[in-house]
Amino acid sequence: MKIRTMKLLIKEGAQNVIKNKLMSFASIMTVVATLFFLGIVLLLAVNISSNIEAMKRDLEITVFLNVNATNYQREEVVSFLESKKDAGIISEYRYESKEQMYQNIKESLNDDSLLEGFTVDNAAESFYIKLVDPNSSDEIITELSRFSGVNKDNGIGYGKDELDKLEGILKVFNYIIMAILAVLMIISVFLISNTIRLTVFARRRQIEIMKYVGALDSFIRWPFIVEGLLIGLIGAVLSFFITSQVYKWLQGFINGILVNLKMATLRIMEFGPVAFRIFMIYSIFGMVIGGIGSLLSVRKHLNV
């Protein structure tokens, strides 16, 4: 196809968008809504997975020693942890004495009467261990449980299983949302194809004349495809703008709540780093929706 023909066809397509203001507006809004929903779901998924990763990295194995553990038994555990640290399996660990534990409990209870009967002596020494790779936890936990000084009954705690379970649930949740999105896309393709079908209908006389004069199918089709792509692109840009504003507002709002709840490890990500990717996804999806929509609507008018 020649350049001047391409210019002509793009111009025709753009004029279609402007001429059919109401229909174009309806289609653009369909794209805006679809992409907005898509974007929110994507951003939600990104946030959930990044927070789960952060939580995993933050996760500690807690090991309590028996109340009557000896110094020797404690040193055994320490040298084990040191060797694992040298091997690059443990990133860091921290020791708490009986006194520290007693103080912590006392502070957190805020009411000395509840402490009745609880003394430094029946507090336990403890270790808090962070792993380089959260997935090596099972192995470390098994080895730790072999030490005689370690409290075998609920002496070792780790939250990873709960997180894994949470991740599993979220995965299912993701699939459901993807299915909803697919349906939504199909609906918007049909809405747009209907809109463009109306503009095709309005111009069937012109199409007929073009065919009598010997226009190639592509020549007839392109203005409508351009129309669809433009609708998709305009919708994408609008939707991107709306998404970024809504997201930024939500981000501030939710982060504020998380800080107040002292859950600052949980955090809604900044929009900036993902903005470009979201914009590209919007543009591509918008134009695919618009393009397919218009292709569907011109197809049957070309068979003469």
Partner: protein, 228 residues
């Protein structure tokens, strides 16, 4: 140039459009297709431009086997034809000039070719002064002239006209027919379907008469009433 070999068109509802047509139209001929309404004149022309395909038989036009043609070839067949209809079929939002230029844009002519050919075509049909007028600012005869200019601008080998004067008064009809004759004298094959007796009689051209879809007579220098 145009050759029908035992061509029959039966519409999907069982109605016969044309039946067992065998005919040969040579390059440079001027042919009238006549017959009462419903006799198959339009069907005959539609078979030429591949708006319909024969249910049986063969149709050859300008070197194309129209009865057995790839979809992608149709535009090229149509470019070798100029078509004129009773109801004009101009684009209302384009001027006379733009309507004619549009036919050239569609076949990807350069803007220089367009600037040269469009005024020539409008001059040929005597409409140079109305180039900037929109269809609704033109009389019926003038609109049909624009259609003629559009049909001619790409220099087709064959011009097909289906009742081109059906919506025009007698005086204008004669003008349009004279124009068709002039176009024919420049070397274009012209096929005109009509049921206007007086015009056919006065022009002394080849006349093919259809009835119930069949050719009942084919006369050189004939007239409407000629029963051979």
């Amino acid at each position: 140039m145009i050759r029908f070999v035992d061509a029959t068109k039966i519409y999907s509802n069982g109605v016969i459009g044309v039946k067992n047509i065998t005919v040969n139209i040579e390059k440079g001929e001027f042919v009238f297709i006549i017959g009462p309404s419903g006799s198959g004149k339009s069907t005959f022309l539609k078979l030429i431009m591949h708006e319909e395909v024969p249910t049986e038989g063969e149709v050859y036009v300008n070197g194309y086997s129209v009865h057995d043609m790839a979809h992608s070839e149709i535009p090229y067949l149509r470019r070798s034809l100029g078509v004129v209809f009773q109801d004009f079929r101009l684009l209302p939002n384009k001027t006379a000039y733009e309507n004619v230029a549009f036919a050239m844009q569609i076949v990807e002519a350069t803007s220089r070719e367009i600037r040269r050919q469009v005024p020539l075509a409008l001059g040929l049909v005597g409409l140079s002064k109305k180039a900037k007028a929109y269809p609704d600012q033109l009389s019926g005869g003038e609109q049909q002239r624009v259609v003629l200019a559009r049909a001619l601008v790409n220099n087709p080998a064959v011009l097909i006209a289906d009742e081109p004067t059906g919506n025009l008064d007698p005086k204008t009809s004669i003008e349009i027919m004279n124009l068709l004759e002039e176009i024919n004298q420049r070397g274009t094959t012209v096929v005109v379907a009509t049921h206007e007796k007086s015009i056919v009689d006065s022009m002394k051209k080849r006349v093919i008469t259809l009835e119930h879809g069949e050719i009942i007579s084919d006369v050189k220098k004939g007239s409407y009433s000629n029963e051979n």
